[in-house]
Amino acid sequence: MTVLEERPELQQRLRPRRVTPRKRDRSPITWVRRGGLTTLLLALPMILVFAAYSWWPILQAIWMSFQKTNLITYQFVGIDNFIAVLNDPVLGIAVVNTLYFAVLALIFGFPLPILMAVLMSEVRKLKGFYSALAYLPVIVPPVVAVLLWTVFYKASPTGVFNTILGWVGIPPQPWIQDATQAMPSLVLEATWAAAGGSIIIYLAALLAVPPELYDAAEVDGAGIWRKIWHVTLPQLRGVIFVMLILQVIATAQVFLEPYLFTSGGPNNSTVTVLLLIFRYAFEGSLGGKYGQATALSLMLAIFLALASFVYFKVTQKWSTN
């Protein structure tokens, strides 16, 4: 005799029930009763703030990209701004520089946090201390970090990095004073500043890897590197794919480092697309090119949106295997 046969009232309670609400259950009144209105009211301040400071300026920017303006009067000019931007010789340089920055950041700055996270997860004691240490550069305000690194990058033989290089016999480098070394110098600082955040995320993701997989790999005779390649990385696949596209979007919009370190120099070697937008709006011919600045912003936004869409479509099959 089963429990259900002995206790018929239990059977009654456990009978299958209809769970989807009937049509008359979904009305505005039930929505309010269920707490929908309170939710909306709670979210309203945030919605208003976002609308005023995020969405409305975006709409304004789209509208401004079709105008010629001095911020006092506005004149509709169709797609003239877009054509002017596309004809600008510096745009080509900016796009190439931005790609260069993104590729360098990808090659050097993307594997590094994964590696660091894997190493840190193997550590027995002081895990918290190492995490804090890794995250410290992220806490430093970006402007302060750049000014600090400007001092480090001083090109004289007595500059901080040049002194350190001197200890191992390498001659002093010009760092940001040289057109070929400027961009890699910027990438170095940007990686240092941003790695901590990624490390923390990967550390958390690593906790979700079942330890039995490592044991199984060990049994099959895998050393540490093969374990990382065959167990850790595939398990982190989802996180890695998302971090990858986030990094690409972020590096495509790099502005702070070129602006503060070199203002786009030497000789336009560190001009990026965002810096070009800034220049259109605020430098050179003052009060002229707000239309072109917003036009370029719009083109960049559309490009990144399309790239993300294609990226997610392509990696859909890979990440959910």
Partner: protein, 445 residues
């Protein structure tokens, strides 16, 4: 469902809205509020003390106007943001070249009537007044101060290098020798030049002009002239052969002033009126400051510049009238009347602010000579340290900056200067040819 927290929240929201509404009304007891530009961020307190004295004096003579001093620095992003938000001061200053762009874009108020009504429209130096006129001859501002380019030098570094601070260089060759000596004996940059933020092009133009090079001829761009070529070759030689230009080549106006005030630069070219800003905003020790004329070669000239006091076009008529009163009182009267000059000089001197910085007259020569006599008892800048400039400037006639697309062309030239200073193998001729092409495209397009 009335819960205490809900009631408190609603009450707090109401109070916030009410207080916001209260603090947005301006103009207490019927006075007209006039927001005027004062000093850049970083100016010392004494400057503000002097301004407070002058503010009181003006308000006594004009009881209906309430002057509100606003910290102000001419920077394109700040100007743009303030213009868009409508929060520009009602009176502010703009350099000549930028003023031309602004008035062509309709971003300055037309003050032709006010200037002519005040009666001194014809007292202005016509070349200078031309910088603030549009094509139809309407005036858009009050030129308040002009300067010529000069060679700033650090007397202390001169002494350390074994040079006599009272005999500064008079030719470009001497500048080169002195720079080399300073670099060798002290390890600091003997000579430096601005390179970014459109100041690179500005200084390149200034130094080309002294060698007879002109950047524009009517509507033709002439960047690839001999004077500019010689200037760039000079930079190349000092940088790569003598190694006397230090190791930082990304300098704008603020950056180079900072380095100079910190004692890292021996000589550089900039405006003759720089002393005020160097001491007030960059904490330069007045004892180390030296100024002489920029070396001018045969057939060369000196570049001049200046700034003007302007009013945004969006102000109401009574604010505009008040603004013109303030401009006249604060900027103009000290140039025209003994009372004005003495009053201003006294207020500044009492607060240890610079009186007697070398400037060029915006009005005519006799008015300027008279003004100098009036303020003589109050002069407190070390004019003996600027003897080179005062003696030499009488023989130099300043010329204006290029007229067309000035700031954009300066930005193009920034890159040329940066390339020459950071790339030993930079091809000067090719760079100039390309820059000329780009500049001509701007002028034509």
């Amino acid at each position: 469902m009335k819960s205490p927290t809900k009631v408190i929240a609603i009450a707090a929201a109401f109070a916030t809205v009410a207080s916001l509404a209260a603090c947005s009304t301006g103009g207490s007891d019927g006075k007209l509020e006039l927001r005027v530009a004062t000093f850049p961020p970083g100016a010392d307190q004494a400057a503000y003390d002097a301004f407070a004295v002058q503010e009181e004096q003006f308000e006594k003579e004009n009881p209906n106007i309430d002057i509100i001093g606003v910290e102000y620095e001419w920077k394109a992003p700040t100007f743009t943001a303030q213009l868009a938000a409508g929060s520009l001061p009602d009176v502010f200053t703009v350099p000549f070249t930028d003023a031309k762009t602004l008035l062509e874009n309709g971003q300055l108020a037309d003050v032709t009537k006010e200037v002519t009504d005040l009666g001194y429209a014809d007292k202005f130096n016509p070349i200078i007044l031309d910088a603030v006129k549009d094509a139809d001859g309407n005036i858009f501002g009050f030129p308040r101060q002009a300067y010529a380019l000069g060679l700033q030098y650090n007397r202390d570094l001169f002494e350390q290098a074994g040079l006599d601070p009272d005999s500064p260089p008079t030719t470009w060759e001497e500048v080169r020798e002195y720079a080399k000596q300073i670099a060798e004996k002290t390890g600091k940059a003997g000579y430096a030049t601005m390179t970014k933020g459109a100041t690179g092009g500005w200084q390149l133009t200034a130094q080309s002009v002294t060698r007879g090079g002109v950047m524009q001829d009517g509507t033709t761009s002439t960047i690839d002239n001999d004077g500019t070529k010689a200037t760039l070759q000079y930079f190349h030689d000092l940088r790569w052969e003598d190694n006397s230009m230090g190791d930082n080549f990304l300098l704008d106006w603020g950056g180079i002033n900072q380095e100079f005030a910190a004692g890292n630069i021996g000589m550089y070219t900039s405006g003759s009126d720089l002393y005020t800003a160097l001491v007030r905003d960059f904490s330069l020790d007045p004892a180390v400051y030296g100024l002489t004329t920029i070396p001018v070669e045969e057939g060369g000239n000196v570049l001049g510049g200046g700034d003007i006091a302007v009013i945004p076009p969006t102000v109401t008529d009574d604010v505009k009238a008040a603004a013109v009163k303030w401009i006249d009182w604060y900027y103009m009267q000290k140039l025209l009347t003994e009372d004005g000059a003495v009053r201003d000089a006294k207020a500044l001197a009492d607060a240890d602010q610079a009186v007697g910085t070398p400037v060029l007259p915006v009005l005519d020569e006799e008015t300027e000579a008279q003004r100098l006599k009036w303020i003589e008892p109050y002069v407190n800048v070390p004019r003996e340290q600027m003897k080179g400039f005062f003696d030499g400037i009488v023989n130099q006639t300043p010329v204006g900056e290029p007229k067309l697309h000035t700031q954009e062309i300066y930005q193009i030239l920034d890159n040329v200067v940066q390339a020459v200073l950071t790339d030993q193998n930079a091809d000067i001729d090719a760079l100039l040819a390309q820059a000329n092409k780009d500049a001509q495209a701007l002028i034509d397009g």
